[in-house]
Structures are given as structure tokens and as C-alpha cells.
């Protein structure tokens, strides 16, 4: 760190020379890094840069002429009711984020105690995370079927509902149904990270509080939850980013329907790119999505910074 600070105060040419000298000295290290760097340069840096370039063009994949249109693709977004609908739907999906954190924490707290078959339970809760999303989406699609779905079968059998519920086919239920599935799929990942967070809380804190007469609720409220703030902060940001990018469940289970009620930004982007072949519009959407994620993360970073004072 100190070296960088000194370098910053020096003229550019000098710094450049210094860098080159270091590169010559450590050339073998760069050689080892090369495959990764080349891959990153072509498939990430170049791809993102080129996408940015495309977003200012009317870029139909198969039409040979691809005229420059300036900001038109970006302006179109704000007048497109389907895009605005997709934004609303995506934000509605965010309801799942706190629910997921709560369920993950609850399971983590339960599995942090000494229960029999602890490892088995942990594996069971983690199984959805390692199941490919395409596979779990197809299973859930069947579970949610109105006529033949297992969910309705048991709900009817135990008299919880009297009539079939068409979970995914009902415009008002499809999105909540997807959120519910998201909680099932996300709890395992949240749980594991919370477990790690719980392990790092010093036992002395609990011992001291018990000497002071704190009950278990107070220990949870005043020790566990505050000390888990960094973990919660990390999980919150990653979950929000993940939710912004929801695509697979929608693609497999609902195709954005019924009546566009589950069309997310990611899915709408996909339909524009690969069904309408309108790459210019789709890439513009991708950069707006990027800006939204970036903005949300900055705000979260500013207001929910998870510094913990012991």
C-alpha cells in the first residue's frame, strides 16, 4: 500500500517505467496469470465494452445495417410499459429477500444448537442450493400444477383448501408462488453463511450476558443479531443483486406470464435479445439494470454499513 502511495506522487512516465521494471522482474508470475487474464480480457472486458457500443445502435442480429441511434434505446426504455412492468415485478420479487434472510437465520440458529443428526439436517437444507436451478424449477412447476400438482393434492387431502388452486396459472398468485420457491431455494445458502457468522461470535459474550441474567431472547436480540450485522449486510447485498437478475425460474416456469405478471427485467431483456433479435435495445436494458444494481448497492453500503463495535 505504501509503495502505491509513493508511486502516485511521481510523474506518470516514471511510474510506468517502474511498473515495467517490476513486470520484467516478475515475468514468470505474469506468465501464470496470462491464461486467466486473456480469458478475462476477451470474454468479460471486451464483451462488456462491445455491449456498451451496441447499446447505442439499432442492432438487429440478422440485418446487415446497424445504424447509430445515440441514446434512443435508453430513452425508449422509459416509455415502454412492458419494461416498466418488468421493473415493478422485479422490485416485487425483493419481498423475498428479507423473508429469505429470516428463514436462513432461523434455520441457522436451530442447527447451531446440538441437535441429533445435525449434519444430515444441514445437508438437507443445503441440497436445494446445489440442485441446478433448471431442475428445481421444473420440479416446482409440477408441484404447483393445478390439476395434478402434489401441493394441491395434499392441500385438498388434508382439507386445507376446498378447490384447486392454479398457482402458476393465476395472474395474482404466480409471482408469490415464485417468491415462495425462491425462499426454499435460498434458505440453504443463507443458512450456511449465517452458521459461519454464528461460529465467529465469541462465547464470552454469551457467558457474560448470562451472568448479568439475560434470557435467551435477550441474548438473541442484544448479542446474536447485532454481532451478525456484517453477515446480514453481506447476505442482503448479494440477495438483492441476485433478485435483480432473476431469470431461470421465470424462463422455465412461467415464460413471464400469466399476462406478464412474472416478467422480470432479466427475462424481458432475454426476449428482446433472442426473440425480437433487438440487441441494441436489450444491451441498453442490461446497462440500465447494471446502473440500478450499482445504485442500490451504493445506497445499501452507505446506510447499512455493517461495522460492529465490540
Amino acid at each position: 500500500m505504501a509503495i502505491t502511495d509513493i508511486e502516485k506522487s511521481q510523474p506518470f512516465s516514471r511510474r510506468m517505467r517502474e511498473t515495467l521494471r517490476l513486470m520484467r522482474k516478475n515475468w514468470s508470475a505474469y506468465l501464470f496469470l496470462m491464461p486467466g487474464l486473456i480469458h478475462f480480457a476477451i470474454f468479460t472486458l471486451f464483451a462488456v465494452g462491445f455491449a456498451f457500443y451496441i447499446s447505442f445502435h439499432e442492432w438487429n442480429i440478422i440485418r446487415p445495417e446497424k445504424p447509430f441511434v445515440g441514446l434512443e434505446n435508453y430513452l425508449r426504455l422509459f416509455e415502454d410499459p412492458r419494461f416498466l412492468r418488468a421493473v415493478t415485478n422485479t422490485l416485487t420479487f425483493m419481498v423475498g429477500v428479507p423473508l429469505n434472510l429470516i428463514s436462513g437465520l432461523a434455520v441457522a440458529l436451530l442447527l447451531n444448537t446440538k441437535v441429533r443428526g445435525q449434519a444430515l439436517f444441514r445437508a438437507m437444507f443445503y441440497l436445494p442450493v446445489v440442485t441446478p436451478l433448471v431442475v428445481s424449477s421444473i420440479i416446482w412447476k409440477w408441484l404447483y400444477q393445478g390439476d395434478y400438482g402434489l401441493l394441491n393434492y395434499y392441500l385438498l387431502k388434508f382439507g386445507i383448501i376446498q378447490e384447486k388452486i392454479f398457482w402458476l396459472a393465476d395472474p395474482n398468485l404466480a409471482l408469490p408462488a415464485l417468491i415462495l420457491m425462491g425462499i426454499w431455494g435460498g434458505t440453504g445458502a443463507t443458512m450456511v453463511i449465517y452458521l459461519a457468522g454464528l461460529q465467529s461470535i465469541p462465547q464470552e459474550m454469551y457467558d457474560a450476558s448470562m451472568v448479568d441474567g439475560a434470557n435467551s431472547w435477550q441474548r438473541l436480540r442484544y448479542i446474536t443479531i447485532p454481532l451478525l450485522r456484517p453477515t446480514t449486510f453481506f447476505l442482503f447485498i448479494t440477495s438483492v443483486i441476485g433478485t435483480f437478475q432473476i431469470f431461470t425460474e421465470v424462463y422455465i416456469m412461467t415464460n413471464g406470464g400469466p399476462l406478464n405478471r412474472t416478467t422480470t427485467i432479466g427475462y424481458y431483456l432475454y426476449t428482446n435479445a433472442f426473440r425480437e433479435l433487438d440487441m441494441g435495445y436489450a444491451t441498453a436494458m442490461a446497462f440500465v439494470l447494471f446502473a440500478m444494481i450499482f445504485g442500490f448497492t451504493l445506497i445499501q453500503w452507505k446506510y447499512t454499513r455493517g461495522d460492529v463495535e465490540y
Partner: protein, 494 residues
């Protein structure tokens, strides 16, 4: 539609195929997780995704068989050639050897196409046919890239909408001059609607080879259960609704019909009803004038949206492609679909054989249905147009046309030749009795006249509104009226 047409089931087929691997993994996982507690009915959706008719893969073991068949075909051809296999003597044979490249989305290893090549080359010693197999999904993109690069194949076998798309861009060679010199091609003999799809602005660009119509598939077993005559499918709208109602018992997961709300499906499946009522999409004299909100259109929309009550809600957000499974299981008793469903039922659902039949769609003010077909075309960029023409003319000879449309047990086909004189040929129906329903539907083939390049965008507006009507958010009448206002604003804008 002139210009661009859209078959939603193709899109679904494509997608579903890409999921084959996922389903395979899934079946393993699912059986592990659910085996113990799954009620027996859940077997319904686990049908593995199936392959389309045209893509039935050739099994490697068949290859020797084909090789031995081919010479036999050549011998037969040689004797026939002695009679007359040069259908256009006025078009000169090439003096030097030439190669005609031919792009095709069919499986070119099939006995039919191999036989064509050998027979033709025996008849035209200076012409060699070079096959280029193109996957159906990529065909349009690939041909477009080739045309754009100035390097198209000489000839191709394409879907009808591609003929329109390429011809409008000037990519195809007009066939007028060749056809007039031909002893074989009689344009008068082609079924008018199918001939129309091969023309752009009255100019002939394609030779229609196959035809299919959207028809009514119905379950004869379900008809009998409901006390309906399986030999007497519904012929009017009133009958259709009555049948649908009698066939529906949602408590037992039995439904009379299926409607689909996703945008393209909703619009595409609505058109036949719109036309039957006497309506149309656009005014032929002014293609920016949306007329699907006419009184006829309103009546059709109300009627069709009302049919949603006889449809399985689980399928509302799906497609005709998804509905093939419940139809094969008998849960859906009537289904609108094209010839592709025959191939699916025969190859993937053999248990349902004998339990389904095909009839024309019901009529109202007139009979009407959507159509599709494939064409033989020559590209404008071809350097061997005359030789290419001789090839496509040869392929579309009546006996070849029948052979291709009938198919073989290994390569089943549910298509009909689009020539009136051939439709009476009994060989078309001997092994395929269900084709009679398609044939009766041929005269109902309807091609809207209006030419509107932005029609696809307008269709999205209609489809979205109809979808809301199927879910009961608005009524059918409101859907067509509101969407017509919006679509007209779109089509009239500069």
C-alpha cells in the same frame, strides 16, 4: 400473413428440446425425492419432450438399408426417364458440367431425397446436386447471411414465410419465365391459398411442395364417454360450444378444449375464428386500417374468450405444443393444431393410436383456417438458375410430391400436396385415414390479403388484450376494440 409469419409451436419445440438434458437429470432426482409419496396421477407431466416430425433422426443401422434401396430407385427412374422426365425441353441443358447447391432443413439422408438426387442426376448428366443440410431452427439466419454475403445456395427448400421474407428483399429469382416453358407446372392446378403464399405482389417465387392446415383434433374415446358421436365432430360454433361443455368436468381434470393466453399463441389461434365470423385483421385496401374490432370480430372474440371456461387453467399460460401431452392422455378432448401434432402423436404417444381423429374446424359465416407449407425456391444470386430450375421442377413432379407428403413409416408425414388434381389420390389416405380431415379443411385455407410489414407488432397488441380476456380480466369485445385503437395508432405512425 404475407411477409413474416410466426408459428408459436416451433418456438416452444425449440425451447423444450434444449431442456431434454435437464429433464433427464430431473427424472433421476425426481424419482429419488418423490417416488415414495407421489400419487399416481403425477406421471402425467413426466412425458419426455418429443421430437418433431421432420427431425426424426436416421438411425445409424439404417444406413446400409438406404444404400441398397438407392440403386433400385435409380433403376426404376431410368425406365421412367425413358418415357419423359425432362419436363422443360425449352430450357437448355447446361453444355458444361455444373453443380447445383441445394439447402434443405429436411433430413437429406432420407430415401426420398437420396432417391431424388440419383434419379435426377441420371436424367441430367451435366448437373450434379450438392446437398447442404441446415438445421430448421437456423435456416433463416443462415440463408440470410449467405444472401447478404452474395453467396447463396442455388436452390432451397424453405418454409412459406421465408419465401415471402426473402422475395420482399429481392433475394429470390422470379420463376415466371421458367414456369411458362414447363410441361409440368400448371399454376392453375395449385390450391389458390397455397399458391398465394408463394407469390409476392403477383410474382411467382416458389413452387409449393407441401401443405398443412390448422384443424380440429378430437378424442373419439372422450366423445363416446360424453355420449357424443365420434363420427360426427362439431360443425358449427353452437355445436362446438355444446360439445366443449359436455366434455368438461374439471373436478376430474377433464376439459373440452384448450386456449392459450401467451401473446403470439392467443392471436394466432384466434384468427380462424375471426375469419369464420366473416371478419379480418386488416383492411386489404388500407393495411393501416385495423378491422379486427368489426362487429364480426367482436362476436368472434366474445365467443372464443368464452371457450376459456372449458380449458384447463394450467394450460392457459402455455402453448399448443404443451397441450399435446394432455391431449394424448385424454384430459383435453379437442385441440386446434397443425399436421405436426400427427407426427408427435404417432411417434411419441403410440398408446393413443386409434383414440383420436382429425376434422375441419367448425364453421360460422364461412369456413376458414390458418395454413402453412414448404416451397422450393431459387436464389437471385444463383449462377446456375436454369439448372436449378430443372432440379426444383423435377422434385415437384406429381409422383414425387405425393411420395414426400405421404412419407414412410420411419419418416411419418402428415402433409398434403397443394395441387388440386393430386388431393383425390387415394394413396394419400390409405395408410393415413386422419388426413381426410385435413383434406376437407383445405378449401377453408385462408390467407389475409393486407400486406403490412409491421403486422407482427400489431399482433402483439391484439394477443396481449386477448390474453387478458381469456383470464376474464376484460371481455372479448373490449379486448378487440381496445387493441384495435392501439394497433391502429402504431400502424399509422410514421
Amino acid at each position: 400473413m404475407p411477409g413474416i409469419s410466426f408459428y408459436p409451436e416451433e418456438e416452444e419445440m425449440r425451447k423444450e428440446k434444449s431442456l431434454v438434458w435437464a429433464v433427464t437429470i430431473l427424472l433421476v432426482v425426481a424419482s429419488m425425492l418423490l417416488a415414495s409419496c407421489a400419487p399416481q396421477e403425477t406421471a402425467q407431466p413426466t412425458q419426455p419432450p418429443a421430437q418433431g416430425v421432420t427431425e426424426a433422426p436416421a438411425e445409424p443401422t439404417e444406413a446400409p438399408g438406404e444404400a441398397t434401396e438407392a440403386p433400385a430407385a435409380t433403376e426404376a427412374a431410368a425406365t421412367e426417364a425413358a418415357i419423359d422426365r425432362n419436363y422443360s425441353p425449352d430450357i437448355p441443358e447446361p453444355a458444361e458440367p455444373v453443380t447445383v447447391s441445394f439447402a434443405n432443413f429436411n433430413d437429406l439422408e432420407t430415401p426420398f431425397w437420396q432417391g431424388m438426387k440419383e434419379e435426377f442426376e441420371a436424367n441430367h448428366p451435366n448437373i450434379t446436386i450438392e446437398f447442404q443440410t441446415v438445421p430448421g431452427d437456423d435456416m433463416f439466419d443462415k440463408l440470410l447471411a449467405q444472401v447478404a454475403a452474395g453467396n447463396p445456395p442455388d436452390a432451397a427448400y424453405v418454409s412459406d414465410w421465408m419465401t415471402g421474407a426473402f422475395a420482399q428483399e429481392g433475394g429470390l429469382a422470379p420463376l415466371e419465365d421458367y414456369v411458362t416453358k414447363s410441361n409440368l407446372i400448371d399454376l392453375e392446378d395449385y390450391v389458390p391459398a397455397f399458391l398465394e403464399t408463394s407469390q409476392v405482389d403477383g410474382v411467382q417465387y416458389g413452387l409449393p411442395m407441401t401443405s398443412e392446415t390448422t384443424s380440429l383434433f378430437y378424442r373419439t374415446d372422450r366423445f363416446e364417454e360424453a355420449g357424443l358421436d365420434p363420427n360426427n365432430p362439431p360443425k358449427t360454433w353452437e355445436e362446438f360450444q355444446e360439445y366443449a361443455e359436455k366434455l368438461t368436468n374439471s373436478a376430474e381434470n377433464k376439459y373440452g378444449f384448450a386456449v392459450f393466453a401467451p401473446v403470439d399463441e392467443a392471436a394466432y389461434n384466434f384468427y380462424p375464428w375471426l375469419w369464420q365470423a366473416g371478419g379480418d385483421q386488416l383492411n386489404p385496401d388500407d393495411p393501416t386500417d385495423v378491422v379486427w374490432d368489426s362487429p364480426e370480430g367482436q362476436r368472434a372474440a366474445d365467443f372464443y374468450a368464452n371457450l376459456a371456461q372449458y380449458a384447463p387453467p394450467d394450460l392457459l399460460n402455455a402453448s399448443a405444443w404443451d397441450a399435446r401431452v394432455p391431449f394424448a392422455n385424454g384430459d383435453v378432448a379437442m385441440l386446434m393444431a397443425g399436421g405436426w401434432l400427427v407426427g408427435e402423436l404417432m411417434t411419441q404417444f403410440p398408446d393413443a393410436t386409434g383414440l383420436w381423429a382429425v376434422a375441419p374446424l367448425p364453421q360460422d359465416q364461412r369456413c376458414a383456417t390458418t395454413i402453412a407449407g414448404d416451397h422450393l425456391v431459387i436464389f437471385e444470386g444463383s449462377k446456375n438458375k436454369e439448372a436449378a430450375y430443372k432440379w426444383i421442377e423435377f422434385v415437384s413432379a406429381p409422383d414425387h410430391m405425393i411420395e414426400l407428403n405421404v412419407g414412410t413409416p420411419d419418416y411419418p408425414s402428415a402433409l398434403l400436396p397443394p395441387r388440386q388434381s393430386l388431393l383425390e389420390d387415394p394413396t394419400l389416405y390409405e395408410t393415413r385415414p386422419y388426413m381426410q380431415g385435413f383434406k376437407d379443411n383445405m378449401e377453408c385455407a385462408y390467407v389475409p390479403e393486407a400486406d403490412q410489414p409491421r403486422f407482427y407488432e400489431a399482433q402483439q397488441i391484439l394477443g396481449e388484450a386477448l390474453g387478458r380476456a381469456f383470464y376474464g380480466e376484460i371481455d372479448g369485445k373490449t379486448a378487440v376494440i381496445e387493441s384495435a385503437v392501439e394497433a391502429e395508432a402504431l400502424l399509422k405512425e410514421e
